[in-house]
């Protein structure tokens, strides 16, 4: 029986890891549908930012309530996963509590994990309450309807179920340990599940073994299911927050990259000696589809957990405009998934003829003040402004689609060297009045 269980475990584990890695490979491919861009300067600073922002959660705690409960789940998740290592060893080798040889350290750890499990449970309840009872507005923006909210709810519920299974498993385990059941060595401490043993006192040893096995399997199957759910979900941030902060933009937030292909065109006009005559004329200006974005923009999109701090600090959104930086990130990810799938079905060179502009309207793009509040608010340094700006460039340069006031402004700059219609010769008139 035990061998069958071991065999089953290895098969399930293998299948889960296989599907997980396949999906991760696909996401990696989708991210690199974006343009190549080398980001590997100032490595020590990048490690520091990752340590501070992702590992240290420095931007999460800017909002203290959410920050505090998020740290509970985060610490709980990372530490309790040490126990998953033991579960995997036990599952493969057929042992029980294989790390118990660590003695008192093991006992303290198991007890600590139980306390964490309860804290995670509490945090999940608080998060559900924030969404559905307190109804914090940023969780109820238009882009949160449907899957986005379902996804968030599933994650919280799955986490709660996993924690509950862990505690119940321990409760039954300690009953078996007390009974001196074969295979169930005395190990661990159970400061929380100790109070749950009353639920299972009526059962004999054989039933308890079945219960323990059920909870054990439920817990690990739940974790493996979760592992495979995460890449389809906003929850991918638990992995991608780390690379995403490492690849953070380090230049000043106000610096918008100059397009080199345009520099060459301008040089050809103003000073041909500086221009590279062999550079082919650019095919396209600005961002039409995700393939025109940098791969970092798409990594940003896959890293986004849709918390909406960006949107709740966006001046345009706060005053009722359609623009929501979170929606920009969600649309970018959706588009990467759609195009990725289309390429899977029809080959890498295939393009479905659609674009990011089908998902993001000009009205949204035009409302951005480039104030960078969204970038500042993001707990993992995602940058929606770059995407908005690139798409705006496409609208202006490729489609000449812009408000008439902007067309006028551009005319003025071109003809009068100022955005208003003043004569350039009057520029210094103010000096006569000092």
């Amino acid at each position: 029986m035990r061998y069958i269980e071991q065999f089953l475990f290895v098969v399930v584990l293998g299948v889960a890891i296989y599907f997980f890695t396949q999906k991760i490979k696909q996401i990696r491919r989708n991210i690199f549908l974006g343009k190549a861009e080398s980001i590997n300067d100032q490595k020590s600073l990048r490690w520091k930012i990752m340590a501070k922002v992702a590992l240290g959660q420095s931007k999460m705690v800017v909002r203290p309530v959410a920050g505090f409960f998020h740290i509970l789940i985060y610490v709980g998740f990372i530490l309790i996963n040490i126990e998953v290592l033991e579960i995997i060893i036990d599952g493969v080798v057929g042992t029980h509590r294989s790390l118990a040889f660590l003695g008192s350290i093991y006992n303290i750890a198991i007890g600590f994990f139980e306390i964490l499990a309860v804290l995670v449970l509490i945090a999940c309840v608080v998060f559900l309450a924030r969404r559905f009872i307190i109804k914090i507005p940023r969780f109820h923006s238009p882009e949160m309807k449907g899957w986005a909210t379902q996804d968030a709810t599933y994650i919280l519920v799955i986490e709660m179920v996993l924690m509950a299974a862990l505690l119940q498993m321990n409760a039954v385990d300690q009953l078996l340990q007390e009974k001196g059941a074969d295979h169930y060595i005395a190990a661990g401490s159970f400061p929380i599940s100790h109070y749950l043993t009353g639920l299972f006192t009526g059962y004999n040893t054989a039933s308890l073994v079945i219960l323990e096995r059920t909870f054990w399997w439920f817990h690990i199957l739940g974790i493996l299911f979760f592992l495979n759910y995460v890449p389809y979900s906003k929850h991918l941030h638990i992995f991608l927050a780390f690379p995403n902060t490492w690849y953070s933009r380090l230049k000043p937030a106000g610096e918008f990259t100059n397009m080199p292909e345009i520099t060459n065109e301008v040089n050809l006009m103003l000073d041909p000696s500086k221009a590279d005559p062999n550079m082919p004329p650019p095919e396209k200006f600005g961002v039409n589809d995700i393939t025109d974005l940098s791969w970092k923009n798409i990594l940003d999109a896959y890293s986004c957990t849709e918390c909406g701090r960006c949107t709740s600090s966006c001046p345009a959104n706060l005053t009722g405009k359609k623009l929501s930086p979170r929606k920009i990130m969600m649309d970018t990810r959706d588009r990467a998934e759609t195009l990725g799938k289309a390429k899977d079905e029809n080959g890498l060179d295939y393009h479905d003829g659609k674009s990011l502009h089908d998902l993001i309207s000009q009205e949204e793009l035009l409302a951005c003040t480039t104030c960078n509040a969204c970038v500042e608010a993001c707990p993992i340094n995602i940058n929606p402004v770059e995407i908005i700006f690139g798409m705006r460039q496409y609208q202006t340069l490729e489609k000449s689609a812009m408000p008439s006031e902007w067309a006028m402004m551009n005319n003025n700059i071109e003809n009068n060297q100022a955005p208003w219609q003043f004569s350039p010769s009057d520029r210094a008139n103010w000096t006569n009045e000092v």
Binding site: P252, A253, T369
Partner: protein
């Protein structure tokens, strides 16, 4: 000499001559620092007051500065933010050619948009200068003891400060403006959304030059209400566009008789009675 001509002479003698770089060059000289006035500072009536206040301060401390005069043109910032990279680079290259021809090394500007563009976006196009915002220059002058103030020049009037996006979040300058207010012995009341969390006035990203998209409120009204709610009698700012936007917001709230919107250069000039 009769009384009237004495007064006229006094007024004349107070008149400041603002030198251009070309003028200095003709005399075989170069400015230590170029004052980049910007389009708003040159043409906009409200922003001109800031320009004049700043020039008075420069004169008062005796800095050797000059302007480009009619050789200055738009940095291209609004064109770039509106997506017209082509026009931006045309403007940038023309300005860089002028600046480099005059061998300019140091630039001060009263506009955070000009500041950001010249400081961050000109270098890769061939224009590298030491660029500072006027609040940074004022802070330096205060630190060096070249600008000193009497006790409480604003008679205990409460002041709040609005961080412009392009000086604050875009370039991380939060302290220089506040140190000026400190030196002015003013009681600074911060808004809830300040420093890194400062709320935009609504003008950035070329919004100044078009109507806002449909919504339930104008951004400048949201920000002005926040500033007014601090109870401050003066809203200080560092950007010609913010000043315009917030002044409009204060008018909208019908508070223009109680609340003044002033650039930090204007506050300094007032405190020095310039």
């Amino acid at each position: 000499m009769d009384e009237r001509s004495i007064i006229a002479q006094a007024i004349m003698s107070k008149k400041i001559h603002v030198p251009t770089v070309a003028e200095l060059l003709a005399q075989g000289e170069k400015p230590d620092i170029l004052f980049w006035v910007g389009c708003a500072g040159s043409f906009d009536e409200r922003a001109q007051k800031v320009t004049k206040a700043f020039v008075k301060i420069l004169h008062h401390v005796g800095l050797k500065y000059a302007i480009l005069g009619t050789e200055e043109t738009c940095t291209g910032d609004p064109a770039k933010r509106a997506g017209n990279e082509f026009l931006f680079q045309m403007q940038a290259m023309a300005n860089i050619a002028t600046l480099n021809a005059y061998e300019i090394t140091k630039i001060v500007t009263t506009c955070p948009h000009c500041f950001n563009t010249i400081k961050n976006e000109y270098p890769s196009l061939g224009g590298s200068y030491d660029v500072i915002h006027h609040t940074q220059l004022l802070q330096n002058l205060i630190d060096e003891g070249r600008l000193t103030f009497g006790k409480d020049p604003f008679n205990g009037r409460k002041i709040t400060y609005h961080d412009s996006c392009y000086l604050g979040r875009a370039n991380g300058v939060y302290d220089a403006p506040r140190k000026i207010l400190e030196a002015l012995d003013a009681e600074l009341i911060e808004m809830k959304r300040c420093r890194k969390n400062g709320l935009c006035c609504g003008a950035g990203g070329a919004q100044m030059f078009k109507d806002a998209e449909q919504g339930k409120k104008e951004i400048n009204i949201e920000r002005s209400e926040e500033a007014i709610s601090t109870g401050a009698q003066i809203i200080s700012a560092n950007c010609p566009f913010c000043t315009t936007m917030i002044r409009d917001g204060v008018k909208h709230a019908q508070k223009e008789n109680e609340v003044e919107v002033l650039d930090l250069a204007e506050l300094v000039a007032k405190a020095k009675d310039l």
